[in-house]
Amino acid sequence: MEVRNDLYYSNDHEWVSVEGNKAYVGITDFAQHSLGEIVYVELPEVGDELSAGDVFSVIESVKAASDSYMPVSGKIIEVNEELSDSPQLINEDPYGNWIVVVEMSDKSELDDLMNAEQYEEFCSKED
């Protein structure tokens, strides 16, 4: 399982990459692996204002639908439309395919997330 050093991680297995006030959000390698082959990604609308913990996307494997939760609060300013036609991109490269870009309303929420080392430790207890 791959964990990248330069990212923040949530308990629900989302990763966050920060660029100024913008947060790129995707799901981790651990998450895509436990979901199995992804066949559908339901995306939010650009402009949606969501709080940390809100569902922003539903990711479906053949077996089941799983919710993805906002790791930070803010406004959705971009969604990865490519995933509508090619949801399997998340399996192929989970860190290369963000799902949404969030304009963060409270950057201090990043302090509640884990770093790579903490996340690796967290995953080792999950399985």
């Binding site: 199995g36 082959e37 066949v39 559908y40 339901e42 539903v58 479906e60 494997s61 053949v62 077996k63 089941a64 639908a65 509508s84």
Partner: protein, 368 residues
């Protein structure tokens, strides 16, 4: 919740990397390598399933045939020895107790194979309906392990391990005391995937040995150990019902679309009067197939809408691995059951359009 029960193959599942889940009170693998890979293996080559959770019940006695004629909806009177039939078992109101396979040894001896989650309930129901029939009902589930070897290469693989000529076992027939790699088994040409294949019954202590032997024999044929995940997608594509989805105490076999297995022309059986009445009055709802027109994957339990009201529910839905389409089965009010009718599926907060289609999503590849 009590601890899930383990089949004799639990250690083998862990050894093969199975992802274990609790299913109907049993710890079973939902997948090994991955649902789609296993699904494709069964459609193209072969897959091996542990179905030891299924219940087996022996019915013995001088009136075993008459007893079963009354208990179930299909006709056992015309069965040959060593034949297998599929049947429903109903309550007096026509609702379904369970679906089952009937294995006939002789007029005085049968074996019924029932669903894991229903085993206790079914056995009680069978005992409650003994009445004056001379029969003995014996739940032998805990002594029996069951493997399902399914796929176009199933026969070729199993033949390597036995001297019995498997090509002589016709579709929906069985043979007992078949020697497979030195172990005595009962095998039937039956299954739950829409492919050719066998269901193999054995002693618990032989299960792990045979599991390994069969996988080894099929290695160069592309066999894979297969989990419950693809068992469900495979049976669904082939329009085979699942109790708890298409079948339940609130659904009759006629509504579910399995009237073929209800022989209203045989003498009395439990549920006959209610089913005759339902047939005479006409169905008010039935299960149809549907295909999504708009994006979204239908799932078991989702509401079905039309004309701004709820007109039914999804019994099973998937992104079909074989057809690469989002399809489902749904119980809908009869006025929305015609082919090509446009319906809507409530998927979380949105609705998505779908069209009623034939239920035969995948044509069964049986060797008859």
């Amino acid at each position: 919740m009590s601890e899930p029960k383990k089949t004799a193959l639990y250690d083998a599942h862990v050894r093969y990397g199975g992802k274990i889940v609790d299913y109907a009170g049993w710890a079973l693998p939902v997948q090994f390598e991955g649902l789609t890979a296993e699904h494709d293996a069964v459609r193209n080559n072969a897959g091996l399933f542990d179905v030891s959770h299924m219940g087996e019940v022996e019915i013995k006695g001088s009136q075993a045939t008459d007893y079963l004629q009354n208990l179930i909806t299909n006709d056992v009177s015309s069965m040959k020895e060593y034949q297998v039939i599929y049947s429903l078992m109903c309550y007096p109101d026509g609702g379904i107790v369970d679906d089952l396979l009937v294995y006939k040894y002789t007029n005085n001896h049968y074996m019924l194979v029932i669903n894991a989650a229903n085993t206790e309930k079914d056995v009680q129901w069978m005992k409650d309906n003994v009445g004056n029939y001379d029969v003995v009902i014996n739940n032998i589930s805990h002594n029996v392990s069951e493997l399902a070897l399914q796929g176009p290469k199933a026969e070729e693989i199993l033949q390597k391990l036995t001297d019995t000529d498997l090509s002589k076992i016709p579709f929906f027939f069985f043979e007992e005391d078949v020697n497979i790699s030195g172990k005595k088994c009962l095998i039937s040409r039956t299954g739950y995937t829409g492919e050719d294949g066998f269901e193999i019954y054995m002693k618990n202590e032989d299960a792990e040995y045979l599991w390994d032997k069969i996988l080894e024999a099929g290695k160069d044929k592309g066999i894979k150990p297969a989990g419950l995940g693809c068992r469900d997608t495979l049976r669904f594509e082939a329009n085979l019902p699942l109790y708890g989805n298409e079948l339940s105490p609130e659904i009759t076999p006629l509504e579910a679309g399995y009237g073929f297995f209800v022989k209203l022309n045989k003498p009395d059986f439990i549920g006959k009067e209610a089913l005759e009445k339902q047939k005479a009055e006409g169905l008010k709802r039935k299960i149809v197939g549907f295909e999504m027109i708009e994006p979204g994957i239908p799932r078991h339990g989702y509401d079905v809408l039309a004309d701004d009201k709820v007109i039914g529910f999804v019994t099973t839905g998937y992104s079909s691995p074989t057809l690469k389409k989002n399809i489902g089965l749904a119980m809908v009010d009869i006025e929305y059951s015609e082919l090509d009718t446009i319906i809507e599926i409530q998927i979380r907060k949105k609705t998505a359009k779908a069209k009623v289609v034939k239920r035969k999503f995948y044509t069964k590849q049986y060797k008859k």
